[in-house]
């Protein structure tokens, strides 16, 4: 296997906050913690596919926490990742409405000393719904919005990346795409409900 750069906890947090290092940091998290999280999910009623998907969600949630300066290093990264995976997995179990007794059993068996990360990771379900709205958009809109708001690329580079005629064409297209996305946000009952709550 290709050797991946090694990080201690402090270095890993720094790497996550460094755009150029982020890929290496994610690969390190996979190589270092995938087995631990898989074992946890599989021993709590999931299969390998669940384990892989939950770990991916866990990494996304963790990076989000780090980038928003909500990770205070009170626990090690491994403990924190397990706590996130547990939180996401129990919610997933509830969502899938697996056998009611089994669900209760898991809840009952939970250790009261378990780390609670719900404050740090916030509402993952809303984030997932938002992400799925992006998936429903056309590829060109999705790309423009991600290049601009996630990759923070200047308009000039987006023009070159996507071969538009000039910056004004991209600016107009980005405006239309953002408008389309906000209409989809408004039409989503879960998210629209949260926006209305904020304004009360």
């Amino acid at each position: 296997m290709k050797a991946v750069k090694k990080y201690d906890d402090v270095e890993l947090i720094a790497a996550i906050n460094d755009k150029k290092e982020l890929d290496n940091a994610i690969l390190f998290i996979y190589q270092e913690y995938a087995e631990t999280i898989s074992s946890f999910i599989i021993s709590n009623g999931g299969n390998q596919q669940d384990a892989d998907d939950i770990f991916q969600e866990t990494i996304v949630a963790f990076i989000d926490v780090v980038k928003n300066n909500k990770f205070r290093m009170e626990a090690g990264i491994k403990t924190f990742l397990v706590a996130i995976a547990r939180n996401i997995w129990y919610k997933e179990l509830k969502k899938k409405e697996r056998a009611g007794n089994r669900e209760k059993l898991y809840e009952k068996d939970r250790d009261s000393n378990e780390m609670d990360v719900s404050q740090e990771i916030g509402d993952r379900e809303t984030k997932r719904e938002l992400r799925e709205l992006l998936d429903k958009m056309g590829e060109s809109c999705r790309k423009i919005l991600i290049l601009f708001y996630y990759e923070n690329l200047p308009m000039k580079e987006i023009v070159q990346h996507l071969h538009f005629e000039n910056e004004q064409v991209v600016r107009n297209k980005k405006y239309k795409c953002l408008k389309e996305l906000t209409e989809m946000v408004k039409a989503n009952p879960l998210i629209a409900g949260q926006i209305n709550e904020l304004l009360k």
Partner: protein, 256 residues
């Protein structure tokens, strides 16, 4: 809400306002409940875009990790049963033979041509340009009229980058890989002189594909490795999805 206030909010969101304009935008959001709602909707939308971008990035690394895992020897999961040393040796011999046979098969069947055939797909011009604004060479390219593309690109050098690139693609479609390589290199050279990057990513990727088609594995692999290491490269995802085993076989055969 007026279209003007919509534009102001988006400019505010994109940090394009300054001084008094920023204050006015804040006041507008604070004083008008409908505008405040619109503002929050925008914030949620951008949150979703950033979530989607991050998810996409993690997803790409996950694929890379899974490809690496397929190389690694994993310990058998599930129930561990005791096995006599004789049976264990037999099982090990079978695995060894199977892996050996698979490796020999892969080594014999994978070559630059097979990798090219598996991963080559034609370049599509961006459909966002209307047919009225497309020039003659673009029209010929869209019509897959490769000879006409080449004829139209026969203008004095230095040729415009788009012309050079489409000419290279047309040569590639006609399987004239030497000429394609020459033109792709020209696109890259022109960009490096002007510090521009028009069709740069495409030229690099299709240059690698032309090298593969021309049985120049070492040159192709050098470019593919560069693309794979550059997450912002337009073809990064596509190269990451190429079979690592196939590329490893090419690497061995090229003696790089």
């Amino acid at each position: 809400m007026t279209q003007n206030s919509e534009h102001i909010m988006i400019d505010h969101l994109d940090n394009l306002l300054s001084g008094v304009s920023t204050l006015e935008a804040w006041e507008m959001i604070h004083d008008d409940k409908n505008i405040a709602k619109e503002w929050n909707t925008l914030l949620f939308a951008v949150d979703g875009i950033r979530e989607a971008g991050l998810y996409e990035q993690v997803s790409a690394v996950r694929k890379q990790y899974e490809a690496q895992q397929s190389f690694a020897t994993k310990p058998a999961g599930g129930i561990v049963r005791s096995m006599s040393s004789r049976n264990a040796l037999r099982a090990a011999a079978c695995v060894f033979l199977l892996v050996g046979a698979a490796s020999i098969y892969k080594y014999n069947t994978v070559n630059s041509g097979s990798v090219y055939n598996e991963y080559y797909s034609s370049f599509e011009l961006n459909t966002s340009r209307s047919s009225e604004t497309a020039d003659a060479i673009e029209q010929a390219y869209r019509n897959k009229n490769w000879q006409e593309v080449i004829s139209l690109s026969e203008v004095p050098v230095p040729r415009p980058i788009k012309t050079e690139f489409l000419s290279a693609m047309a040569h590639m479609e006609l399987k004239k890989y030497d000429k394609a390589i020459e033109s792709f290199k020209q696109v890259i050279a022109t960009n490096s002189k002007s510090e521009d990057s028009y069709f740069q990513d495409e030229a690099e990727y299709y240059l690698a594909m032309s090298y593969l088609a021309n049985s120049e594995e070492a040159q192709a692999l050098t470019i593919l490795e560069k693309i794979k290491a550059d997450k912002n490269h337009l073809y990064n995802e596509r190269v990451k999805n190429m079979s690592s085993i196939d590329l490893k076989v090419l690497d061995l055969k090229s003696g790089k």
